[in-house]
Symmetry: C2
Subunit: 413 residues, 2 copies
């Protein structure tokens, strides 16, 4: 079953508002076994809306339309549908009487713009005439068309509770069976990954996709087809091969977050973490504490931007700061030791570096970063050269620190 | 000048990745005076890509295409363009020799998939053959077509540095004149704001829009029309009235970030900041240090998730923690004092609260937050009840703390 998604609104084509509803609908439909071959966003222009709708009807089995159903002058979807499909608008009596009862209770004028909400193209079948959420379906030339509001919360509710069940009932059995897994990978280039995966010679019905999502690469393994052609065993076998090949370069799947993965490892091993940050300025701690329940394994730490605080709170020696500079392996190590002691943690992370745009030198250009990880016996330090603007350098630094901790915890278990 | 935007990628039509580049391009183009009448998103299917491109060419002056330019097997834009526009692909020698030099230095195989990047449709004019960012322009049937990568950071860079200047040079004078300003407002409901703005009775050619962008509301003031109809004086006058009406409820305009605004105020007044965080877990410090040059006014601070660290690093008294609990006005105040002393700052912020989803009680439900701001003479504490999930509570808490500091600094100056 093929579908198209059409989003309507000048606020979308002028870029004032980011269209999130089409992507949401696409994900829900894809996971339910449908294929979306195009999504369009059209301004509030009836002619263009009509053209897009007619084009979609000729080439797909169903269409999802969002936006333009409200009561203000720039809500033009019903007018466009009426003209394009030659279906005059007429009042839905149930909706009209509900609006009039509401207006009466408010003592508003009788010819309120709200009455516009009751005028629908001929053949429209409203989802919930008694509810406050607009929306209806229409079958035209054997194509099922759903019209929903553009407000994300309303659209999402209708999508789950009304559209997906009705679509499933309409032409049951004609959906594709879908198996999909996303592997999240850090510290590996897309092209190298591509070459490694190609060497596996996976079966032809397994599709592979690579999607950079800074600083990660997402690897998608997909099998999709008619129910009798699709084999869960072949899919699982392909996934096993990928996992075996990439090993710990994969940090998680689907909705995993690196901070969540690290948190689980810490919790499983009953270890407490402390963090001392300079160039990441709180970002490592913020990522750790974005996870519910992180107080079970995160004690806290220090953000020591000034050298004085590195000495005072973390006990970094003045001599080391003078001799090696704040951005050095020695200071990273001293910071990790300092916060380990200070917090009484079992393991600690520290960061020091130059996030830029200022502060670089020929010796230590912007992007120079030292990360340390200490426990009660050892301390490992890595040095990195990152590129990009300040925010990218901070992001990849925090991500690298979390990944360093992940590899340490895997090694330990 | 009319344009269309086409985004390409199965990751978009399957809803795996939210398309943010089309909305970004739309906003940039709208502000530069162009009108986008449709945006499409197409999967990695050469036939559909070609159809969308041909349709756009017949009805607009320029087309922006993003995605599908990479070196992996699912990057099919050049193949689709080649077929649809009947322009065979041929190697761009400059790009090819750069790739070969790179491969040679890496000692990779000669028939590397990277060479694919050099094969472009006939007539393609690459933006920067020497750079790592792909992209080119093509003029077909008097329509100017720009091809850019789908990676948001690369696309944004090309949009500003290459596409907009070239578009402006191509058919100068046929753009609409646009004046737009966005006011960023925190701590005010959209409906109340709407009522206040209506009372101003602004001229009819000034359009007003309200856009929630959690936790802010953005207020857009827009004037757009042919050059001789648009009056900058009337636009500026409307803006002045809005500013006068809303006063310090506006924290910035257009691209201002609250942390940037606060940073400027601190720098102007030569004040140094320290931060002590519990429920925000590093987010306040992270937002402050995301701003270049923040080391001029940010000393650092502590993330004290455990009660022990609140005592040890910040000197919060054990008795207060026992008597009032960690989430209390008294502990917020003690944390702010503690970090002020510890860091030697002129002013400090602290946060303590319950971000959830666990940890709430009938007395102190999830969303209960105390924030304190201390200087050498005084300390103010506010208590808040926020709602939403953990991440929303952390976001609005950090935002409220920064805004508290902003109002304090405005008051002081």
């Amino acid at each position: 079953m093929l579908g198209e998604i059409i989003a309507i609104g000048d606020e979308l084509t002028s870029g004032r508002i980011l269209n999130t509803t089409s992507g949401y609908a696409a994900r829900k439909l894809y996971d339910a076994g449908y294929t979306i071959h195009a999504m369009s966003t059209i301004g509030d222009t009836p002619k263009l809306i009509g053209e897009a709708l007619l084009r979609a009807i000729t080439r797909v089995d169903f269409v999802i339309v969002t936006g333009g159903l409200g009561s203000t002058d720039d809500d033009l979807t019903n007018e466009a549908v009426s003209k394009a499909l030659n279906r005059p608008t007429m009042p839905n009596l149930e909706i009209l009487s509900r609006i009039r009862a509401h207006l009466f209770s408010q003592a508003d004028a009788v010819d309120s713009p709200l009455e516009k909400l009751a005028w629908l193209p001929k053949g429209a079948d409203p989802f919930n005439p008694e509810s406050k959420i607009a929306g209806y379906q229409l079958i035209h030339d054997q194509t099922l068309i759903f019209f929903m509001p553009g407000i994300p919360s309303e659209m999402k509710e209708l999508m789950s509770n009304t559209v997906l069940p009705r679509l499933a009932a309409w032409k049951a059995g004609s959906r594709l069976k879908t198996h999909r897994r996303i592997y999240k990978i850090f510290n590996m280039a897309e092209s190298g990954l591509n070459q490694m995966i190609n060497s596996l010679n996976l079966p032809e019905d397994i599709s592979i996709g690579y999607y950079p999502d800074f600083p990660d690469v997402h690897l998608s393994i997909l099998q999709r087809g008619k129910a009798r052609e699709v084999s869960p065993e072949r899919f699982e076998d392909a996934c096993r091969k990928v996992e075996h090949l990439l090993g710990s370069a994969i940090y998680g799947t689907d909705h995993d977050d690196l901070a969540l993965v690290v948190g689980k490892l810490l919790e499983d091993q009953s270890l407490q973490l402390g963090v001392a940050e300079s160039c990441t300025g709180g970002l490592i701690s913020q990522r750790i504490t974005s996870i519910p329940g992180s107080s079970n394994y995160f004690l806290g730490g220090a953000v020591t931007y000034s050298n004085e605080l590195k000495e005072k709170i973390l006990g970094v020696s003045h001599a080391d700061l003078e001799r090696f500079g704040a951005v050095s392996a020695e200071v990273a190590e001293a910071m990790a030791h300092g916060v380990l002691q200070n917090t009484g943690a079992d393991v600690s992370l520290s960061s020091t570096g130059i996030a830029g745009p200022g502060g670089g030198s020929p010796d230590k250009p912007v992007g120079t970063v030292y990360l340390a990880l200490a426990d009660k016996e050892n301390c490992q330090v890595i040095s990195c050269k990152f590129s990009g603007d300040r925010n990218r350098i901070q992001l990849i630094t925090a991500h690298t620190a979390l990944n360093m901790l992940r590899l340490y915890l895997i090694d330990k278990s």
